[in-house]
Amino acid sequence: MALDHVLGRSPAVSAVTETRGARLLLVAVAMAFLALFLFLPLVAVFIEAFRRGTGTYLAALAEPETLAAIRLTLTVAAIAVPLNLVFGVCAAWAIAKFEFKGKAFLTTLIDLPFSVSPVISGLVYVLLFGANSVLGPWLKSYGIEILFAVPGIVLATIFVTFPFVARELIPLMQEQGTGDEEAALSLGASGWQTFWRVTLPNIKWGLLYGVLLCNARAMGEFGAVSVVSGHVRGLTNTMPLQVEILYNEYNFVAAFAVASLLALLALVTLVLKSILEYRFGDAIAASNGH
């Protein structure tokens, strides 16, 4: 303020304000880019899917192999997301509320799936459970199939989607500290009561947000799953893999029909995310004012 006064500026005008033309140009470039690279492809997916009418669209989705792919994708997400929810809360709890040796290492490790190419994540499991590995033949002798079967797909999905919940919770729990938990304990609550009545309500919005992102990625994952799945039709094909197969067979309507379901999932996730951010933002503001 004082400086503004010295410089003879009105304090209402920010020093970094651009001219009107520059602002318009920036907005136009950003909008054009978004339209071209994000919005048009999305529209194209739906146009292609409905090119031969709703009947064909529904018929394409009702194909047994496609239905199997949808069922598999839902199954994998239903296993991977709850597990990552539990792992994520545990990891975030450990990192945010305790001091221990190797904490920095653990934090880095959680980010590993983000920094590794999904194909490598898949290959890791091939090396671990493949025919030439140590574990693979041993498990096979007990009749347990990991690779080119559902367990492999679940493992690869868990690996790839692990960071979402933990990443979301760590900063939130670190900011909240251990004060509320200490208060609950001093009032006589057991550890379990403290978790359910105090810790969980404090992180519920962040947790939901993390789960949503985790779910979107679990259903949409292609690279890692592609390596471990083996592409057995009707058995180990998830939705993204099914899209690829249909497309390679020049069955465009069916490919885009399945793709439209995935796109729809993305849209629903975005809407829910925005709603949560709105709510979550309020919760953060309330906790900061507290």
């Binding site: 200490e182 208060a183 609950a184 009032l187 006589g188 309500p201």
Partner: protein
């Protein structure tokens, strides 16, 4: 409930935060732990609560060894510095929490819990706000909710960590009187931590002055102010000045000249003379006095504080004068303390004592200037 702290030691990463601390708290007493940052006062409070485990030593609640119990079993009411109210619960739910989480055998009925919580909210003058959320309350109101919540479990001891630290000065003064009134009504044995000496002296039955993980002195407000037991207490509580002097045959000397003070119970040798700037008399001639050159003068509320340079080493001391006293215009002032104390700089720990006197300005910064 009587609380006995016995030879308590607490180390964090081998650094002693508390070193051989013993303290007896009488039943129904309101006691203040006072000290600068890092003196170990909050650590001591958290150890009594069971939020930390002692490295050595024990804590007794009455005849019971509480140090073997968990925080849940100790049944203490703890009020956190930033209140730690549960933000997703209403005021009423916050206050009822401690009763609701009890095992069903000892849990009062739903109706009884509600009545007890409303009764407490009435006690802390928050009736009508029971449906609010913590975010909708002012700082002072949150403080009172935190207190009501802690009292709901009928604690053996009430522990408050910097209870007024996060509030502005006016609210702080009001709450202080109000807390004293609550204490006198309910009679809980209460321990509170503060770095604000005014708060400690005004509110507490007894003050525990802490420094560097040790207890320097325990006493009533009058005792710690009028008869400080160590150079640290002299420097930390109230205003004070200190001067290095020599004691010879019961006479106190500065630069080999007697200053008119006799000290019969202090051994010959170097010592530190402590006095308060307002406990002095001004002298005209200097046949046994402390004389100094005026270095600075500033007005503090209704008086004038004059800084003097004394002796060859130009030690700085302060004296307090009435606002329109003519001496304030002079360039040299001669005075003699009327109340003072000598702390011998013995063979034992002279450096530490010196450092205590040197670090005085720092300590005064730590205590908010609310005089």
């Amino acid at each position: 409930m009587e609380v006995q702290v016995k030879n308590l030691r607490k180390e964090f990463d081998r650094f002693p935060a508390l070193d051989d601390v013993s303290l007896g708290i009488r039943s129904g007493e309101l006691i203040a732990l006072l000290g600068p940052s890092g003196s170990g006062k909050t650590t001591l409070l958290r150890l009594i609560a069971g939020l930390e485990t002692p490295t050595e030593g024990a804590i007794f609640f009455g005849d019971e060894d509480a140090s073997r119990k968990t925080v849940q079993e100790r049944n203490v009411g703890f009020v956190f510095q930033h209140y730690a109210l549960f933000r997703h619960m209403t005021v009423l739910e916050n206050v009822s929490f401690g009763l609701k989480v009890r095992p069903s055998a000892t849990r009062p009925s739903r109706q009884a819990i509600r009545e007890r919580a409303l009764e407490l909210l009435d006690l802390v003058q928050l009736s009508g706000l029971e449906k609010r959320y913590p975010a909708q309350l002012s700082g002072g109101q949150r403080q009172r909710v935190a207190l009501a919540r802690a009292m709901a479990i009928e604690p053996k001891v009430l522990l408050l960590d910097e209870p007024f630290g996060a509030l502005d000065a006016q609210v702080r003064r009001d709450l202080r009187r109000w807390l004293r009134a609550i204490h006198d009504t309910t009679g809980h044995t209460t321990v509170f931590v503060t770095h604000d000496q005014e708060e400690a002296l005004e509110l507490a039955d007894r003050v525990v002055v802490m420094n560097k993980g040790r207890i320097e002195q325990i006493g009533t407000a009058d005792e710690v102010y009028d008869a400080p037991g160590s150079p640290f207490v002299y420097g930390f509580i109230g205003e004070s000045s200190s001067l290095p002097v020599t004691v010879e045959g019961g006479q106190v000397l500065i630069a080999d000249r007697p200053i008119g003070l006799t000290a019969t119970d202090v051994p010959d040798g170097k010592a530190l003379l402590y006095y308060r700037p307002h406990d002095i008399e001004l002298l005209d001639g200097c046949g046994g006095c402390i004389a100094g050159t005026v270095a600075a003068s500033r007005r503090v509320a209704g008086t004038r504080r004059v800084e003097l340079e004394v002796g060859g080493a130009r030690e700085r001391v302060e004296v307090e004068l009435p606002i329109d006293h003519p001496a304030a215009q002079k360039s040299r002032i001669a005075f003699r303390p009327t109340r003072w104390k000598l702390f011998p700089m013995g063979e034992g720990r002279p450096e530490e004592k010196m450092s205590v006197s040197r670090s005085q300005p720092l300590q005064r910064e730590l205590a908010p200037a609310e005089f």
